[in-house]
């Protein structure tokens, strides 16, 4: 009896998962886009050590 309830609950939650996955993750996409734009436009100097400090070898 309780197993049957559990099965119903499981199948419900499974179908809910499927439903959720269909949707485009808009918020995550915006964050991902911003990260890529930062890199392409080099807005955030994340690795300034790469070339800017010329102090070590003038």
């Amino acid at each position: 009896m309780s197993l049957r309830i559990l099965l119903v609950a499981l199948s419900l939650s499974l179908s809910a998962c499927v439903t959720i996955n269909i949707y485009f993750p808009a918020a995550a996409a915006e964050k991902a886009a911003d990260r890529i734009i930062d890199e392409v436009w080099q807005l955030r100097e994340a690795q300034p050590a790469a070339e800017s400090p010329s102090g070590s070898k003038p």
Binding site: S13, F24, A28, A29, V40
Partner: protein, 136 residues
């Protein structure tokens, strides 16, 4: 035994869906190569954005909106930069959708990028809103 495996399957699907729901996968070799290519091209495109010759279009591409802002001798080069950038951008949107196993998301990825490019554009750059161009 059967019950346990079912429970396992349910938990697995829950965790999979949580991952798929909260994230957008943007780490693939193809995406990395496109980012590098666009990053290198940006050094040449940035002055064109600043002069208003090239603007950020509403569809997530770039457009040569004022060719007269480019000296005649450099117009062909500006057009080919725009064409190359748009090829990379289209490939980027397609690859992001594909990296997530959802090729049908391409247009939504494109739409998200279109908004973000416009929002992040620097002061003085031109962005397309609807059918008209606006200077930031």
């Amino acid at each position: 035994m059967k019950f346990r495996s079912l429970l396992g399957a349910a938990l697995l699907s829950l965790s999979l869906s949580a991952a798929a729901q909260g994230n957008l996968e943007v780490d693939s070799p193809a995406i990395a190569a496109l980012k590098r290519s666009m990053q290198q091209r940006h050094a040449q495109l940035a002055p064109l954005y600043a002069s208003g010759a090239v603007g950020l279009a509403a569809d997530g591409s770039v457009a040569l909106r004022d060719a007269s802002a480019v000296p005649l001798a450099q117009r062909a080069q500006a057009s080919s930069l725009v064409a190359a950038e748009n090829a990379d951008r289209s490939a980027l949107y397609r690859e992001i959708a594909r990296a997530n196993g959802r090729p049908e998301w391409e247009s939504e990825v494109r739409g998200t990028f279109a908004q973000r490019w416009a929002q992040r554009a620097q002061p003085g750059w031109w962005v397309q809103q609807g059918s008209s161009w606006v200077q930031k």
